[in-house]
Subunit: 335 residues, 3 copies
Amino acid sequence: MNTIWTRHHIISLANFLPAEYNMVLQTAASFQEVLSRRVKKVPTLQGQVVANLFFEPSTRTRNSFELAAKRLSADTLNFAPATSSLTKGETILDTAKTYLAMGTNIMVIRHREAGVPQAIADEMDRLESRVSVLNAGDGQHEHPSQALLDLFTICSVLDPKQPKIELLQNKKVTIVGDILHSRVARSNIWSLTAAGAEVHLAGPPTLLPKLFADWIPENQEDSPITERKLFLHWDVEPALKDADFVMTLRLQRERMTQHLLPSLREYHQKYGITRTRLKLCKSGVRVLHPGPVNRGVEISSDLMDDPEFSLISQQVTSGVAIRMALLYLIGGGKS
Amino acid sequence: MNTIWTRHHIISLANFLPAEYNMVLQTAASFQEVLSRRVKKVPTLQGQVVANLFFEPSTRTRNSFELAAKRLSADTLNFAPATSSLTKGETILDTAKTYLAMGTNIMVIRHREAGVPQAIADEMDRLESRVSVLNAGDGQHEHPSQALLDLFTICSVLDPKQPKIELLQNKKVTIVGDILHSRVARSNIWSLTAAGAEVHLAGPPTLLPKLFADWIPENQEDSPITERKLFLHWDVEPALKDADFVMTLRLQRERMTQHLLPSLREYHQKYGITRTRLKLCKSGVRVLHPGPVNRGVEISSDLMDDPEFSLISQQVTSGVAIRMALLYLIGGGKS
Amino acid sequence: MNTIWTRHHIISLANFLPAEYNMVLQTAASFQEVLSRRVKKVPTLQGQVVANLFFEPSTRTRNSFELAAKRLSADTLNFAPATSSLTKGETILDTAKTYLAMGTNIMVIRHREAGVPQAIADEMDRLESRVSVLNAGDGQHEHPSQALLDLFTICSVLDPKQPKIELLQNKKVTIVGDILHSRVARSNIWSLTAAGAEVHLAGPPTLLPKLFADWIPENQEDSPITERKLFLHWDVEPALKDADFVMTLRLQRERMTQHLLPSLREYHQKYGITRTRLKLCKSGVRVLHPGPVNRGVEISSDLMDDPEFSLISQQVTSGVAIRMALLYLIGGGKS
């Protein structure tokens, strides 16, 4: 299947092609099947090295990538910032080059600053290495694997056998919360609008982009999508009206000390997802959250645990399948 | 052998059956044999995931479980509290559910609060998952794998070929130290008394339970053992008299700042295990310590290194075999 | 090949034999070849345990050893000082004995105090264990695997097919920087002089040994090398004159707070390696650095990135091959 896969790095979804989305979804679906077997391993990446360079720590995401790599039989290396050479004054690019020289095939990179994965990918190409770079979250820029696992989770709800983006045509997806600072929201906007969904963004004015066109260009020169259906709301109710899927974003507690938020409680009152608010949505609406969840803040505790509405566990499960798919597609046939 | 093993989680030894103890001992003995081979791996848990959720850090215990899992060919995930989502306000149950959703088969859990492994096991059952939970130490409650490796070490001394609890019938085992706060002591009391041994507890009054019956119920309603031979001593000498085995417990330095202890030196003078004190015991007496040891506090340094008396190294070796046995018994035939 | 390899531990290069150097170089060369294959694994250490006991943290060196071990199919255990029993008052030897009792076959040890790996090796021998100890850097004493990877890198430049120490006969190698506190310099002095190279040491007087003979004995009683060609310089220029290879050492920022250095900038002006200074060397001179590099301090940034001169990436790559070779030679035929 990956004979026609050409993308070498996965940094952003801004210029992802519909065919690429579908290839990722189909590959993930086939790995879901592998994961249902007793022995969940395939030899695809045997003898290859996947280095998780998490300059910004995240146990859950790192473990998800680690498990995906191990199930493809790769060897994994974990880079621990605390005890790293960075504290010894080494530059990020030099750290990456060290892992290149050690024989790394794929670098999974998370950093609190936007652009770091791209910079490392550029350097790897400049050096004519065959290393692939996978963005595991960079600052407030993008988090492609999260958006792809969200996409996979949603499409699998609509058609477990044949998840494909066409299923989202004209569906209404509402994203609620701190849009402005969210790399998850940004990546999801690219994928969901590319799939033809109507995307509604709702949150406190302080957490919404002011000059929207600046924040996310109407049309990136290299974007294949001519028109994106995107709407902004300061109130959550109109955004939720007739929604097919609702995504709540994690609220960073820092936002309060930054005076962007009055209080978590007030946030929950105005923007928290509750059973009452869900009544505004289409029947059969499902709720997603990238986790970790602040129970009773972004979403009411009982709703989060209600399998009729919550897709949160499916998202985590999809995460392993999606990351296997991404490592497989960019790592396939490496030596 | 595990065709008749029915226990799904291992949280406490309070209601362990004699047949279960012996099955663990025999399984561990067979793994001891595997560990003496050149290639120490068996494919039992190939493709399964063992997640070490050590909310309370412990390198030695985590590495022991990790090695046991690897030797059963399982994939392992390590949860690092420092960089974990807990610091981001996620609940412990949500963390566990994340690892469930990732595809974990067995969770090995350590937490500074009693009851956490049970709570996670209950949640796993409520969700009708097939995940097994193994308590790796919870607060001052229990530490089953430690007590089982102690039991295995002792029984292997008495009969290396056929370790079984019947060998402890009417043996005298003395546990010395901070009984009150020790999960190791508590788990050992269940196993040793279940084996029919006479268990003598000795320590400073401040580190002994006041209302003994409250601390450890004479008879748990669900306990299979009708009568337990248990004795308390404020002085160590009568406790040591004619003892077959002596267990010293690690002394937490916090106890002093809590004014429960005058000084480490005074503690050693009154309760430290020395060659002189061992003369009170049966000849051939052996000494155990769960480690890490404060040399010259719980036990005199030279005694700790004397293979004629000390079983400390054997305990660590038994630890890997016992943990392989436990993972094998609860993980057997998982998918 | 390792039928004639007799060394059980690798702690120091002071008494390494020429035949041993060449055996390491040839073994590393054969593993370089393995690393060029698509599947980079060999089953040599299958089922054996390599424990990385890094009392002094170092992600890059630990990952290099970890990767080498995994490519020999060994199981690896990582000891994390932060959460270790050391904080609980356990002695270093007791920690090592715990890993011995768990079934470790090879211990890779880094510690900020000189002599620790030797002390652990002595204890392992005293206990008649078959565990091998590999020094991964001890205080200001030695860092054998670093010196061996430097040697391998240099010899591979001179003859990629047949790296052997004879190639260094009468070559001039210049080591620049904080010689006094450098375990890297010390180990390199043993290997390079044993190879018959002329070794020139240059650095600020405060960072050079005062009583040279005390710092590094003219002739160790057990050293096989009768005469070592070693020269000291306070200025870098005469040291660089006609050099074939230049090694720059990492400068520890602590040195300044210790008043051993005026400023990093002044250090670079007087001892930094630049294109201009390299003109003093033989044409075709190559530059090495153990990393991590302080760009613009030990070496000018552009020079570091110039493949015509810099061997820094090759050093990292050689590191994995050399560590595979060392684990293979000392671990071969272990049970």
